[in-house]
């Protein structure tokens, strides 16, 4: 078993500016309905949650081998498990890439403070795959 780690940070004010400039076009292009519902309708508080989710998507992309195929943003989804902890759910091309790389499980941690949202993803990968942490 190999462990791969992806990490990313996202300034919250950049997400706020994007919501201000592009509104729903921005949100709907990047985030699933579930993610948008999870972050609420208040743009100020929603921006922090969305920034963390964007960081999570980027963190996953640092684990997957995207040299030939880059999954769409919404193919990497942050969901809330029953216990409240966040988890990664892959679909489409992201799911296929993970299968090809023999990614068996991903764990996600989100945090924010000082205007920065961050995400760390730890992936368990079966031996014999070609992916690498970047």
């Amino acid at each position: 078993m190999k462990i791969l780690v992806g990490i990313d940070v996202q300034p919250v004010d950049e997400v706020e500016a994007s919501i201000r400039n592009f509104g729903g076009r921005y949100s709907r292009r990047l985030f699933t309905d579930h993610e948008l519902e999870s972050c609420g309708e208040n743009p100020l508080t929603a921006a922090t949650g969305l920034a963390a989710r964007f960081a999570a998507k980027e963190a996953v992309l640092k684990i997957l081998d995207t040299r030939e195929t880059v999954p769409s943003w919404k193919a990497i989804e942050v969901r809330r498990a029953e216990g409240g902890q966040p988890e990664i759910v892959l679909s489409g091309e992201a799911s296929e890439l993970a299968r090809q790389q023999r990614v068996e499980q991903m764990s996600l941690s989100l945090s924010h403070g000082g205007g920065i949202a961050t995400a760390v993803v730890v992936a368990q990968v079966a031996e014999g795959q070609s992916g690498a942490s970047r």
């Binding site: 997400v15 500016a17 994007s18 400039n21 592009f22 921005y26 292009r29 992309l61 769409s72 943003w73």
Partner: protein, 86 residues
């Protein structure tokens, strides 16, 4: 410089959050190596859609589409982009 190129560079200046002036970059200079982040590239994409009155299809929503001024121009040309007033 064509109207399309001028509009691309204007959008990059406004939304690319690059630490360098876009005017100093050649057409094929790598924007990511010059500080374009993934999040900023999304803003660039949305601003280009407004400027050219089009929508990037999913097939073009990948890093390579926005890696240089030239790459953006080629993507826009493939979509039949024309500069709209205003």
């Amino acid at each position: 410089m064509s109207d399309v190129d001028e509009t691309i560079r204007h959008v990059l200046e406004e939304h690319g959050r690059l630490p360098v002036s876009v005017a100093t970059l050649d057409d094929d200079e790598d924007l990511y190596e010059n500080g374009l982040t993934s999040h900023a590239s999304v803003n660039v994409m949305l601003a280009l859609e407004d400027a050219f009155a089009l929508e990037f299809p999913d097939a073009l929503l990948r890093k390579g589409t926005f890696e240089s001024v030239g790459a953006i121009r080629r993507a826009l040309e493939s979509l039949g982009a024309v500069v709209t007033p205003g």
